[in-house]
Every structure is written in structure tokens, then in C-alpha cells.
Amino acid sequence: MDTTELLKVIEPDGATPGFDTDLSDAELVHCYRTMLAVRAFDDVCMKLQRAGRIGFSIPNKGIEATQVGAASAIDKTDFLFPSYRDFGMALYHRVPPVEMMHNMFGNELDSAHGRQMPVHFSFVDPIRLYSISSPIGTHIPHAVGAAHAFRLKGEDRVCLVSFGDGGTSSLGFHSGLNFAGVWKAPVVFLCQNNGWAISCPSEEQTASEGYAIKAKAYGMPGIVVDGNDLLAVRQATSDAVARARRGEGPTLIEARTFRMGGHSTSDDPTRYVPAELLEEWGRKDPVTRFQRYLEKEGIWTAKLEEQLTAEVSAEINAAAKVAEGTGQPGLETIFSDVYADLPTHLRKQGEFLFDLTARRGDAAAGDGAFPL
């Protein structure tokens, strides 16, 4: 399969003529529930940010089907390299929302000890979800190296790495895909073409006809898929994952979707996103589309909707409450994890800071002794 024709499974009305899913009803519901959870997580974060209780968030609205469809195609033993706009990948693989919320608040239970901005998650359990970095595209060669390591070590695992349309202009895209092609590394590249890199539209990002075609520069198949169609994204990703597992090398998937919010909570998209486009894509909402499909399949009911919505909303609100109530990281976290062992100069700097805050009577200083 190597096509520039858009892969699509679910019709606007929810029909899937000629398509048979391999997902059980329970799995389909989990997909749907995850999309609802993304939306709920998004909403809660927006509100927290507007209220000044967290510093920043990244809206995921409109991209849920891409995130969940792709994540559903990989196993727990595989390795996920998401972008910052990929709440659904973590939630699909059952990362507890409270763990994500700890990061949003940068508190002492945050796996990164509050060192990173919100939405820069890092997990090893229940799935290896790679520590998200702000610089665009740098994680792409990491995924390739990890995949190559799997091959060299004879492990049957693959990497799924996700990035935006803007990410294709990055250096990591070029070197990552090129190396993956030469090494036939078991990695799947997911380009989430959501129409924008902050305010830069696709036609100012590149002159190529879409993004999948860039695969040709690296000798790998390029697939275009309807990013608002969960089953299509899952299908394309599953095929690519299978290909990778068979040792046939990498695939580039372009999921065409649309960012229905601002780039981040700091962004005002009305300055540059034409209202018509928003309207057009609003009619293609990925959650509604999947809901219609589930309804057609006899799975969705109003009651199920009510139940799932209540569940995710309760879970995520509770998560936010717990995370907000959790203390700040200790001062020593400024100095730990720079190296495996604490070098002398950092020990001295830490002692200095502990001493200073103790003299100031700052509560964060702990008991006055630098604990590292």
C-alpha cells in the first residue's frame, strides 16, 4: 500500500461499507471513551489555565481520532514517541489521568519533578511514553535509534513517533527518516497534519503536495489517511506496524485533520485562522463521526454516552483536584538528575541554596540539610 489517495473508512453518517473491524465491542468503547476523556482533559486544563491555576495547556480538540486510532495500533511493549499534542495516546494506553495532571501542575509527584512545562509528559509504565521535549522534531531520530536497537537486540517491538505538519521541516525529520530508510528500522512515522504550525498554514510550510509524498525522499511508503476517521487511522497504523514487525522497514503516515482550537492557551487563533475553515472542519468532528459509527453498530446508546461522560469527567476532575493538592517538588530536584551522581560543584550549589532559603525562612527549604 502506497498511495496519495486518502484512506477513509467511516462515512459521515457512520456507515463503513465493506469494512470489518478487528476490534471487539469493548475495545471500540474504550476508543470512544478515550476520545471523550481527551476532550474532558482538554476542557479541564483550559479552565484551570484560564483561572490561573496552571500555567499553560495545549488544546487537542479535533485531533482525537488521529491520536487514539494510531495509539490503538501499537502494543504495550512497544514504544511511543508522541508530540505535546497527543493526550489521547497516553489516555488510550491507560496512563492514569492523575499522573498527567501531576505534570500539568508540575508538582512533586510529576514524573519530571516539575522541571518541565505542562503537557511535557514522560512515562515508562503502563507503556513507554517518551519524555516530551519542546524543540520540534528532535525526538524523531530518537525513535529511529530506539527502533534500530530493537532490531539489533532481536526484540519484536516497534516505535510509533508522532509530530506535526510543521515538524516535517525540522532537521530531525530529515535525518530521522533518512536513517530509518537506510536501516529499515521498525518505526512508524505519524505526521499529524492539522493544518497549522502555530500560525503558519501548510502552504507556507512546504511546497510539496501534502506530507506523505515526502516519504519518497527516503525510500519508504507514504500513506494519507483521514485523520478524523479513527478506524482509518487505526488501519493505516496497524498496516505500517505489521510491515515494521515483518522487517520491511518504516512507513510515513500523514493524517489529515484540523486543529479546532488555538495552538496553545497563549495563542489567539482568530488572528489567522479563517472562520470558514473552522466551520467546515467543525462539521467533520471526529468524535461525532465515531459515535455515529458506534450507533450504527448498535453499540452506542444515549445511556452509554451519559455513563462514559460522567465517568471521565469525574475521573479527570478528581485527578485535577488531587494534583492541585499535591505539594511542590523539593528544592533538591533542581540539582538531582543532572547526572546519575551528584558532582561536587552541584552539591555545593545545592547546599548554598538550602542555606539561603533556610536563612530566609523559606518553607520549601525542608529541614535545612541538603539531602543529596
Binding site: 522541571r115 532537521l171 530536584t333 539561603l356 520549601a364
Partner: protein, 324 residues
């Protein structure tokens, strides 16, 4: 004279010079319709059109690489790097190319261009929206490195940088973008590069600083004065080429020196100031040359207020230096 924020002064500097010099053009990520993520380039596309202020693909390497090509052909590109943290993909283009072009071509090709970029902490940006990378660039012969700390200097130094025949890295202290205000002349004017600004005169301790640390140091100096310690405060404002004689003179005048920056200490810019003093006027020193800096770690998020030097830390250093 209008009173502007530092951010408005940058915007005004760009507009003023674009009005008088048609060869000046501005580009980078989101600098067009959006006006830049901090709005430093707001209104430029509207006033000067898409040919003179435009967005680019997401590649800092491409932004700087193409700027070099434009600069050598008679244009005066002002390239924006959205955050200084994202300048590193362009490191090769800056260090290997822009900085060395005049030298390696015997002056046949040159790159008169400006790279504008917001730097520093104070916005809860964590590892990648807070860094101060001046030391990486100040070690690079062929480059000029400029950091303003007042609206007046921001505009005057920016225009001087744009008119300079060599590549200039112009780092803007984002923490000061909206927090400092000052009078800024409306016309085109320049503040000479490689000149210091003596912010405050005092006989006891000399403090060297720049950018976002200047107001912090000023605050500490005021507190010190209340305790009877009179500080000379020097805003270096051009880090490379540095006015070394001015630095030595200011250091000698008190014999006691504190150097302040928010970047990590080890091999930071402050080390050069200390080294200059240790090499050229150590015999005047009556106390150790202290550095007040960020810690030698990546930049944290939640605890950034502990990471960043504040007036208390500077005051501590002033007192220790004074009492030594």
C-alpha cells in the same frame, strides 16, 4: 517622547528602520499575521507587506541559512528565532557560516544581518523556554552579541545592530518585555555597540550585569545603599566585542566585583569577566570576584524562582564582597 515598554521599543525600532531603509526585512516563524508569539513584530506585515515581513517554515537552520544568502546580496535581514532555546538547530549556520564568512573569503562575502531572539527565565517556561545561551555565542569570533535592558537601549542598539556590517545576535530579555518602561525617541537613532552603560555610581562594589538581571541588580544596589554600601552598576549591553577597558576601569574603581547573570555559572559569560579581571587588574582586587548566576543544571519550571538570581542573592554577594 513617548513612553514605551521594551517590547514596544523593539517593535518601534523595527518599524522606524524599515521605513527609512527598504532593504531591511523581517522573517521567522509566526512573525507575520500573528505578529510573533510576543507581538514584537506586530503590524509589520500590514505596514510593509508580505515581501518585507513574512513567516517561514519551521526550520531555524533555514531561517539563518537563507538570511546569510540575503545579507550577502544587499538586503539587511532581521531574522527572528522564536525562543533562544530553539536557536541550536541553527548553531552551525551561525557559528560556522555567518561568523566566519568575512574571514574565510577575505572580505569578499559578508553577512550583515541581525538575529533577534527572546531569552531568559521568568515566564515559567521550563527547560526549553527559559535559557540564556549568550556564552555559546560570545565564544564565537566574528559574531557580535548584544543584550539591551531598557527600552531606549533596545531601540538604539537594535538599529545599530541592523546597520552594523557584521552579524549580530540580538538577545531580548523576555522577562523585561512588558515590565520595564521608558522614554524612547521617535526617530531613528543608534546606541553604539561595544559601549557599556553605567547605571549607578558607587565607590564600594562594582557589579557587572546585563539584560533581565539589570533591574534585579539595581534593586539589590538600592538595598545595599540603605545599608551603607555604595555600588557601581555596569550594564554590559554588548557582550562581544566587549568594552574591556571600560570593564577594567569600573572594576579598578572599587576593587570589589560581583558578576551577575542568569545563565549557568560553569563556563558562563561571567567567567570571562572574572578572568579579565584576574588577568589584567588582579592587583587592584581587595576581595574575591564573586559570581551570582543560575545553577549548573537545566532550567527548572516549578522552582524557577529559586533558580533565578534575585535581589536577595545579589545583595548577599554584595555584602560578602564588601565585608571581605
Amino acid at each position: 517622547m513617548p513612553t514605551l515598554t521594551l517590547l514596544q521599543a523593539v517593535n518601534d525600532g523595527l518599524k522606524s528602520v524599515m521605513r527609512t531603509d527598504p532593504d531591511v526585512l523581517v522573517f521567522g516563524e509566526d512573525v507575520g499575521l500573528k505578529g510573533g508569539v510576543f507581538l514584537a513584530t506586530e503590524g509589520l506585515t500590514n505596514e510593509f507587506g508580505k515581501e518585507r515581513c513574512f513567516d517561514t517554515p519551521l526550520s531555524e537552520d533555514g531561517i539563518i541559512g537563507t538570511a546569510i544568502g540575503m545579507a550577502m546580496n544587499g538586503l539587511r535581514p532581521v531574522a527572528e528565532i522564536q525562543f533562544q532555546d530553539f536557536i541550536f538547530p541553527a548553531f552551525d549556520q551561525i557559528v560556522s557560516e555567518a561568523a566566519k564568512l568575512r574571514y574565510r573569503s577575505g572580505g569578499q562575502y559578508t553577512a550583515p544581518m541581525v538575529i533577534r531572539t527572546p531569552y531568559g527565565g521568568g515566564i515559567r517556561g521550563g527547560l526549553y523556554h527559559s535559557q540564556s545561551g549568550e556564552a555559546y555565542f560570545a565564544h564565537t569570533a566574528g559574531l557580535k552579541v548584544v543584550i539591551p535592558s531598557t527600552p531606549h537601549d533596545a531601540k538604539g542598539l537594535l538599529i545599530a545592530s541592523i546597520q552594523d556590517p557584521d552579524p549580530v545576535l540580538f538577545m531580548e530579555p523576555k522577562a523585561l518585555y512588558r515590565s520595564v518602561k521608558g522614554e524612547v525617541p521617535e526617530d531613528v537613532y543608534t546606541v553604539d555597540l561595544s559601549t557599556l552603560r553605567r547605571v549607578r555610581e558607587g565607590k564600594d562594589v562594582t557589579i557587572f550585569c546585563y539584560g533581565a538581571m539589570v533591574p534585579v541588580v539595581e534593586k539589590a544596589a538600592t538595598q545595599a545603599a540603605a545599608k551603607g554600601i555604595e555600588c557601581t552598576v555596569v550594564d554590559l549591553r554588548t557582550l562581544l566585542p566587549l568594552d574591556e577597558d571600560g570593564v577594567l576601569e569600573a572594576a579598578k574603581s572599587t576593587g570589589r566585583v560581583v558578576v551577575v547573570h542568569e545563565a549557568p555559572r560553569f563556563c558562563g559569560y561571567g567567567a570571562e569577566i572574572s578572568a579579565l579581571i584576574a588577568e589584567r587588574c588582579i592587583e587592584y582586587m581587595e576581595a574575591p570576584v564573586k559570581r551570582v548566576t543560575g545553577f549548573d543544571t537545566p532550567f527548572p519550571n516549578t522552582l524557577e524562582h529559586h533558580y533565578l538570581p534575585d535581589d536577595r542573592r545579589v545583595l548577599d554577594a554584595i555584602e560578602q564582597t564588601f565585608e571581605f
